[in-house]
Symmetry: C2
Subunit: 756 residues, 2 copies
């Protein structure tokens, strides 16, 4: 092997400013697509595009054409039946979360699935009730139609029962959710879900699990607790439960505990022997059937006062139109539901699409869910998404396409139409227990917190704040708060970056933080300032203050002092107390020794120093006449490293320009290096440049700019030279004394190369 340190790096090339580089290297003139081009492309229509659009709108055509009946159909049937059983159970259970009579959950596990079969691009997710979404629906429903207190007035339904009114509210909200999802899909803004980061979703779903747990306690304990909604509702619910904890129905509690323990253990076994079991044991279905049987046999309902599912009317109800009053009342709440429902389904679908190597289309998924929800809502469904556990059943039992989903829907339909009455004696506490035991995965996400704490504090804050906000303020408000915190985190990360002053690693073209390395060379009078993040409204002032700190003086203050001094000199010259001789200024009075008060407007002090009517340009580093003094500026050049500046906004442009101007006006040469091509383009487009700030300040790399500075101001750095063994045969006006300190090679550079 080669020793890495022995490998050598050689570069010999012209020194490039951005301008010189562009001059020398022919650039391809690339025409960027304008908005109009995009629009044109978007609206262009030919038969091929029409066909592909039709195909993308009806994905079922695509995959049914390649359906391999021999290999896939059997798997799909097995999967469909298993999923169907789970879907029936979850339909009933999650319906309790939505505060609706259980059989409406069966509707939700049927109608939307049929539509998704035609429109969905995922082949593995099981569409249907999703606990978090059901709970959010439940919050709206109990807000508008509470158990106690005044109800929202739905025209035409004033005399309907609470349940009937609730169904109308739930269906109307679902309709609205569907419209929103459809609109987002048609507008192609499915990418919005990207803003829901894993951390946010984890915190949010953990909070949702807590809500679900609390909402199911009443079923498990057999208590009557009215639904609360709004901030702190979880506290009120818990209070209500603890107040009447002594009324717990022991039969319910025992049943629930047995079911939870058994289901929990068998699920662990399923997990552990995943590879050995052909199909996971459908323990929830088994336990439900058993519980149903026992409840019927021992007549739990009358003997122990257990709350059971009760009469399930066979068949479907007539379609209904959504209620517009409910739309108005719930528009703000429907939006987060539309987003959450889609986001969860999409993320589950994505996992399976990666695993089975096919593509899903976010916008088409939005359209699919939108239409599913709209269609479902007319048949009194509540909003659907997917449940992770049910999708896992569908996939792990061998489901290959949505044919399995369709079969599961048919299973649900059979229950609704024919054998629903068998479920009537099922205690609600059993459903509650099944829901709770399924929360394990969501609640265990709390383990993310120590993980994030160790790795990334801002992400940890996002998790905790989202979770707490969602628990205490409610899911919709919590989601908004979480999203806000998350966006602020991004801004925050870019807001207080660690700026650094760079210096040269001797004998190389490498520049590093001068505080980090022992042997580092900083040319005198030159500062290299690295801006390690994008610049925008929230940090532009921060950078300016850091820059002032780094260079050690405020350019504006120096400029004002100099202009004041000029005013004083002018005044003295006018008065004749000061005279200009070829040798220098001659003071003829002692009065001027006192710092003269500036006259004239304050604003003029910020203008560039103007030597026009003076006999000579003032050299600010030299002694000034008549005891006038200005702060000495040791800095002659400043290089700003823009390598990590990925964007600039208007505030940044303004701030940067002001800062540059102030520096230029006190005769500091400013250079910007490694600036992104697009940023440079933007600067030109925004007329950033003028007489003072010129495009020639841009250099290609730090080393180019530093070499340029050393060449211009070389004289000063003579004493700092190291390793100078280079013999330059150059015939330039001024020898480049500063340069050689940046080289460490022992060779003689032959003549032809050093052409200057």
């Amino acid at each position: 092997m080669l020793r890495p340190t022995a490998r050598q790096y050689e570069v010999s090339r012209p020194l490039y400013s951005e301008e010189a580089f562009t001059e020398e290297h022919e650039k391809v003139c690339r025409r960027r697509k304008t908005m109009a081009d995009h629009a044109k492309q978007y609206f262009t229509c030919d038969s091929k595009r029409a066909k592909s659009a039709a195909l993308s709108l009806l994905p079922v055509i695509g995959w049914l054409r390649i359906y391999q009946i021999k290999e896939w159909l059997l798997s799909d049937i097995v999967s469909g039946v298993s999923t169907g059983l789970v879907a029936v159970l979850q339909g009933l259970a999650y319906c309790l979360l939505a505060a609706l009579p259980p059989w409406y959950g069966l509707f939700s596990a049927f109608f939307p699935v049929v539509i998704y079969f035609f429109l969905g691009t995922s082949r593995h997710i099981s569409v249907g009730p999703f606990p978090v979404l059901s709970l959010m629906i439940g919050a709206v429903v109990t807000r508008l139609i509470p158990d106690e207190g005044p109800r929202f007035n739905i025209t035409g339904l004033e005399d309907a029962t609470v349940d009937e009114q609730r169904v109308v509210v739930a269906a109307s909200v679902t309709f609205l959710i569907g419209i929103m999802q459809l609109a987002l899909g048609v507008l192609q803004v499915g990418f919005l879900v990207m803003y829901l980061s894993d951390t946010l979703v984890s915190g949010f779903t953990t909070a949702a699990a807590v809500h679900i747990l609390v909402s199911q306690l009443k079923f498990v304990l057999g208590l009557v607790v009215p639904g609360f909604s709004g901030p702190l509702s979880i506290i009120y619910t818990l209070e209500k439960i603890f107040v009447q904890i002594t009324d717990t129905n022991i039969c319910d509690l025992v049943t629930s505990i047995i079911i939870m323990v058994v289901v929990f253990i068998v699920k662990e076994i399923n997990d552990r022997y995943k590879s050995k079991l052909p199909v996971p044991i459908p323990i929830e279905v088994i336990m439900t059937v058993i519980a149903c049987g026992i409840s019927y046999a021992f007549d739990f309902k009358t003997k122990f006062g257990v709350d059971v599912v009760g009469h399930i009317p066979p068949g479907y109800e007539a379609p209904m139109a959504p209620n517009l009053q409910v739309f108005q009342e719930t528009a703000v709440e429907a939006f987060p539901m539309a987003i959450v429902g889609f986001a969860v389904a999409f993320s589950v679908a994505k996992v399976y699409s990666v695993k089975h190597d096919y593509t899903i289309d976010g916008n088409q998924e939005l359209i699919a869910f939108g239409v599913s929800n709209i269609f479902g809502a007319t048949f009194r469904c509540f909003a659907v998404s997917t449940a992770l556990s049910r999708s896992a059943v569908q996939e792990s039992t061998g489901g290959k396409t949505q044919v399995a989903g369709l079969l599961s829907a048919i299973m649900v339909m059979i229950v609704t139409l024919a054998i629903g009455f068998l479920l009537e004696p099922l205690p609600r506490s059993v459903l509650g227990a099944v829901v709770i035991v399924n929360l394990k995965g969501m609640l265990m996400q709390v383990r993310d917190v120590p993980y994030l704490w160790r790795r990334d504090m801002p992400d940890c804050v996002v998790w905790v704040v989202t979770c707490l906000a969602a628990i205490f303020l409610g899911l919709d408000l919590g989601l908004a708060v979480g999203l806000g915190i998350e966006l602020i985190t991004v801004v925050f990360r870019a807001q207080f970056p660690r700026c650094s002053v760079l210096a040269n690693i001797k004998g190389t073209d490498i520049y590093k933080d001068r505080k980090d390395f022992l042997s580092i060379y900083e040319p005198e009078g030159l500062k290299i300032f690295r801006i390690p993040s994008p610049i925008f409204f929230a940090n532009v002032e921060f950078f300016r203050s850091k820059l002032v700190e780094a260079i050690g003086f405020s350019p504006l203050r120096v400029l004002r002092k100099r202009n004041k001094a000029l005013r004083a000199i002018r005044k003295l010259l006018k008065k004749g107390e000061l005279q200009w001789t070829p040798k220098g200024f001659l003071v003829s009075s002692n009065q001027a020794l006192k710092e003269p008060e500036g006259e004239g407007p304050l604003e003029d002090l910020d203008l560039p120093t103007d030597f026009q009517d003076l006999p000579v340009q003032i050299n600010w580093s030299a002694e000034l006449p008549a005891g006038i003094s200005v702060p000495r500026v040791e800095l002659h050049s400043l290089v700003l490293d823009f390598a990590a500046v990925s964007f600039l906004d208007i505030s940044a442009l303004k701030g940067l320009k002001t800062a540059l101007k102030e520096l230029i006006r006190v005769e500091v040469d400013v250079y910007i290096v490694a600036c992104d091509a697009y940023i440079l383009e933007k600067l030109h487009a925004c007329s950033f440049f003028d007489d003072e700030v010129k495009p020639s300040i841009f250099y290609l790399t730090l080393h180019d700019a530093v070499l340029h500075v050393l060449e211009r101001r070389g004289g000063n750095t003579e004493t700092e030279l190291h390793h100078q063994k280079v013999v330059t045969t150059a015939t330039v006006h001024r020898p480049l004394k500063g340069w050689s300190s940046l080289r460490s090679t022992d060779k003689t550079i032959p003549g032809p190369e050093t052409k200057f």
Copy 2:
């Protein structure tokens, strides 16, 4: 002058990976301050710190000690008197915005100013009513105590008049605002106002101006319009006004128009002859006095039914305690008011502090305004900030310190205590006209829109959305929406950056977008991918897809294909249909030609290819036996340019690691270059590295990494060499054929340097 193109650039140094560099260059072991250190430093107390803390809490001590009586006092007196006149007028006028009886505005122009004198760090702002803030107070006041409809029930004040109740509400809200500001100041989070970018503030204040204009129309037209609050209130107000436009009081309208025209013209004159006028003409005060006199002389009130200021009770009212019920009811609205009030005052103060070169302290300002508002609220003031126009008067008439402010407060006090009755005949329409004519500056900010449109689209969107939201949804909600949009803009800017594939500019160490330049060299089998922005949850997937696009294949898919092929080979070997001979594989059956179905779990296909039980490692670029085929991968190395990656979050870490692993598993060497030192540190801290992803993939610069790649894989690029005139006298195992294409010099490198 030197021709820039003739200047040459020379570097000869070892090739550095990050590891090699750290090994060779001694690093200073810097101990970073931990949270505990900061806390310790923060809570350490010695006499010096105590003294400086006391001084910073009472800035008055600092500047009173250096008060130059001779130079400053006269200016302060002149400024104080002028400001006082304006303050009286504005106090009355802005009080109408707050929907309170006019004389409470005089209170607000007195009490808070006194406190600010002691606590404030700005020497030039005139503390007192600020129109936008007054309007926001007015919105709360009219929401709780509307003209029509049910009023908020304040215990103990059930029988008070509307005005009395309103004053209690306004004072209580002000108290709450003060507490919030004080808390923010004590917690040292004054930097929060940084989030209010210039663009946001411009859009917001323009919207506020529209609201103010509309709210003053009723006074100008002499109509009775109840106050509306909440979203769309501006529409309702306008509707109410237009419905009764025929009832316009002509006297009010004519007076207003005359005043507006005169004030407007004289203000223009003031502006134009700013440098020539010693003091701007106080036209508003003059016009008010004239209007007052005329109204008294012609008895406008009874003759024309003009609404006048009316009886101003002389003297102050007894202090009051704030109402806690109002706190609960208005907490959400008070927060934006606290922020807006402070933000505006701070930005005005900052302008003057820069102009007059002194420092102001954001947190101390928060404390000052907090205490001022709390103190004021107990004396029935409403929330104060500063009005730009009044501060401009104070500064331009020569105010040097807050002594001028104190004097203006004394002027206001004199009016309250002694000569208030003189203002009684003043028509309210005059006040309205004065308010409206002062809106010019704020409304003219609409010119920012075309400016922003041309320069920066996202900023333009922020302006327009903030303005429209603030107009139609109300100021507080509008501010929240604007803030949200602004934060999203930042995320958005970083979310869809233009990734690019870089290539080498021949003969240099410069890498540019290969699409941008004609003469550019891209070594075969090597891709250089530049990530031009920070990576975080919202764009990590975007980058991964762009990367797959750039390299032209999906590494995961290739890996799966290879693992499937391996399974097939293993199966064939087991069956004996394939045999390994030293010459290669020998197929003894034709059955295997069909693509074999993969067996075993799908997940295993994503593991690294495992050659363990095979007689030989498979060369994936060669022909495979038995007709098995895998996609050919031409890429052998990938270099990721991290120069512009300023931060990574947890999602980015996960995504990056997955992407790297997938690439490494298909035998692509991945290198990361120009990575920020802090990011590298973080990667180590987050246990990013393992057996597959190693720290040795980090290189210092692009050129280092590319040279390293060419050295390792040099053989393949032989045909691509350009300008090869280098004679290497190296004695390495393999000549570095690829290297020389990156050099363009005509020289012979002497032996000692090329040690490999």
